[in-house]
C-alpha cells in the first residue's frame, strides 16, 4: 500500500538526513538509543553515555525480558519538547517517536536533523526489527533506562525535516480549520 519507495538509511547518520523531506518513507538500520524523560534529565546532568555524533534517539520505554526485546513501540515525543536541545548541539541527527514535537524542536532541527514518526502501538512489529545491543543507566528501570538497540530496516516516516516542514503542525492547522476553530489557544495544552 506504500506507493513511494522507502529511503534506506544506516546509523550513524550524516548529512544525508538534510535531503529528507516531511512525508518521505525511510527504513532505518543500525544502532539507536532509547531515551524518555528520566534519561534526558540524566544525560543533561552526567553526559551522554554513547557517541552522540550522528546518533539517533528513540522515544521508547520497551518491555525487555533477559536479552530479548519483547515489545518496543514509540512513546509520546511531546514530553521531551523542552529536554532535547542539547542532543542536537552534541551531534545527534534524528529522533524517533510518535505524535510530533513542538515549534522549539522544529527550529533546533533546522539544518541539523529530522524527526521520524513510528506508528504508535506497533510494538511487536518494532521488536521484530530489533536486537538488543546494550544498556546504560540500568538504575532508571526498564522503561526509563537507555537501551542500545540494533535496528534492521524499521519502517518510518519523516514527520519534521531539516527545512522546518512539519506534517504534524500542517495537519493541526487543517484540523482546526475543518472544525471552524481559531488558532491553537486556550483549549490546547502544548
Amino acid at each position: 500500500m506504500v506507493t513511494k519507495e522507502a529511503v534506506q538509511l544506516h546509523t550513524p547518520l550524516g548529512e544525508e538526513v538534510l535531503a529528507l523531506r516531511a512525508g518521505d518513507h525511510v527504513e532505518l538500520s543500525g544502532i539507536v538509543y532509547t531515551a524518555r524523560d528520566e534519561a534526558h534529565l540524566r544525560m543533561q546532568k552526567d553526559g551522554i553515555p554513547f557517541d552522540p555524533k550522528g546518533a539517533v534517539i528513540y522515544h521508547c520505554g520497551p518491555v525487555i525480558r533477559g536479552t530479548t526485546i519483547v515489545a518496543a513501540g514509540p512513546t509520546t515525543s511531546a514530553r521531551m519538547n523542552a529536554l532535547s536541545g542539547f542532543l542536537f548541539e552534541k551531534g545527534v541527527r534524528a529522533l524517533i517517536g510518535k505524535g510530533g514535537m513542538g515549534p522549539a524542536v522544529r527550529e533546533q532541527l533546522r539544518g541539523k536533523g529530522v524527526y521520524f514518526a513510528f506508528t504508535g502501538g506497533c510494538a511487536a512489529l518494532a521488536a521484530s526489527h530489533m536486537k538488543l545491543s546494550g544498556e546504560f543507566f540500568p538504575e532508571l528501570g526498564m522503561a526509563e533506562a537507555v537501551w542500545a538497540i540494533e535496528l534492521d530496516r524499521l519502517p518510518l516516516v519523516v514527520g519534521i525535516d531539516s527545512m522546518g516542514n512539519d506534517l504534524f503542525s500542517d495537519v493541526e492547522k487543517q484540523t482546526r480549520a475543518a472544525a471552524g476553530a481559531g488558532p491553537a489557544g486556550n483549549c490546547t495544552d502544548k
Binding site: V63, A71, G73, T75, G121, L167, V171, Q174
Partner: protein, 278 residues
C-alpha cells in the same frame, strides 16, 4: 470468616484473569480487526496508508510471536459477571489481583501501576484500588480484561452540559479530538457515556468500548463522521480515518443535568473475556 487462600475457585479465577489478560494484549477482537481492515482499505492518504501498513503488520506479528501488540500494556480494568450461586466476597477481588500479578510475570506486561503522589511503582500492576474491578450479575462467571493504555486515557474527558445544550454533544466530541490530536494514537474508538451522574457517565463511556464496533446506530455514525471530517488521521499525520467507531451508552439522569463522558481509545481496542470454571 476465613476462606482458604488457594481454594479451587480462587485458582480458577486467577488463572482465567491471566488468560483473559494474555489474550487481550496479544490479539484484537474480530470486530475491532474488521473495522481496522475496512478503514485501511478505504484510506486514500499516502502517509496514512503507510501507518495502516505498520498497524496491520504489527497485528500479524503480535499474533505470530505471541507477544503484546503494544509496550504500553495498560492498567488492568476488569469486568466480572457473577451468577446467583456465587457470593460476592473479598476472595473474588484477591483472586483477580493475583491473576494480574501472575500476568505481569508470565506474559510479560510492563509494570505500569504507581502510587499517584509518590509515583512509587509496585512492579506488579496492582495497588490501592487497582485492578479496577466492576461487577454485575450474569448467567455465568466470566472475567473480562480491558487493559487501558495512558496515551488515549490521558485525553479522555467528562463534561457537565446543561439540558439546553443537548445539541452540542457532537461539538464536545469533536473538540475532545481537536485537543487530543495525534496523542491518543488514532485512529481511535470513542466510548461515549451520556447521562447518569458525573461518575456514571465516565463508567458508561468505558463500558461502551466493550460494545461491538462493527455496527453503529445512526446517531453514533453521525458522531463518527463529525470526527473524521477533522482529518487528524492515523497518528496525527493526516488522513481520512481519525475514528474507527463511536459507541454510545446512556443512563437516565437528573432533569437539570446532562453529563457527557468521552473515553478515548487507541486503535488497539484490547479486551478479552474468559469463562471461569472450577
Amino acid at each position: 470468616m476465613q476462606t482458604p487462600k488457594h481454594s479451587p475457585f480462587y485458582k480458577a479465577l486467577a488463572s482465567a484473569t491471566l488468560e483473559a489478560y494474555r489474550s487481550a494484549v496479544i490479539r484484537l477482537p474480530p470486530d475491532v480487526l474488521a473495522v481496522i481492515r475496512k478503514a485501511a482499505a478505504a484510506e486514500t492518504n499516502e502517509v496514512a496508508n503507510g501507518e495502516f501498513a505498520n498497524i496491520l503488520a504489527n497485528i500479524e506479528t503480535a499474533e505470530r510471536l505471541g507477544v503484546p501488540l503494544c509496550q504500553d500494556t495498560g492498567v488492568p480494568v476488569i469486568y466480572l459477571t457473577i451468577p446467583d450461586n456465587v457470593p460476592l466476597t473479598q476472595e473474588i477481588y484477591d483472586a483477580v489481583a493475583e491473576g494480574v500479578r501472575r500476568a505481569t510475570e508470565a506474559i510479560p506486561l510492563r509494570p505500569n501501576v504507581v502510587d499517584p503522589l509518590t509515583r512509587h511503582n509496585t512492579g506488579n500492576n496492582t495497588g490501592a484500588g487497582m485492578p479496577a474491578v466492576h461487577v454485575r450479575p450474569g448467567d455465568r462467571l466470566t472475567v473480562t480484561v480491558l487493559p487501558k493504555g495512558a496515551g488515549a486515557e490521558n485525553v479522555s474527558r467528562v463534561v457537565m452540559l446543561l439540558p439546553s445544550q443537548k445539541d452540542t454533544i457532537k461539538n464536545v466530541i469533536t473538540e475532545t479530538m481537536l485537543i487530543a490530536g495525534g496523542r491518543p494514537c488514532p485512529p481511535v474508538i470513542l466510548g461515549v457515556g451520556i447521562g447518569g451522574t458525573f461518575d456514571q457517565a465516565a463508567a458508561l463511556a468505558k463500558e461502551a468500548l466493550l460494545e461491538p464496533v462493527d455496527a453503529m446506530t445512526a446517531f453514533e455514525q453521525q458522531l463518527c463522521d463529525a470526527v473524521n471530517i477533522l482529518g487528524i488521521g492515523p497518528m496525527g499525520l493526516g488522513g481520512n480515518t481519525t475514528a474507527l467507531a463511536v459507541k454510545v451508552k446512556t443512563a437516565a439522569c437528573h432533569t437539570a443535568s446532562l453529563p457527557v463522558a468521552i473515553n478515548v481509545q487507541c486503535w488497539a481496542n484490547r479486551h478479552a473475556t474468559v469463562e471461569v470454571k472450577w
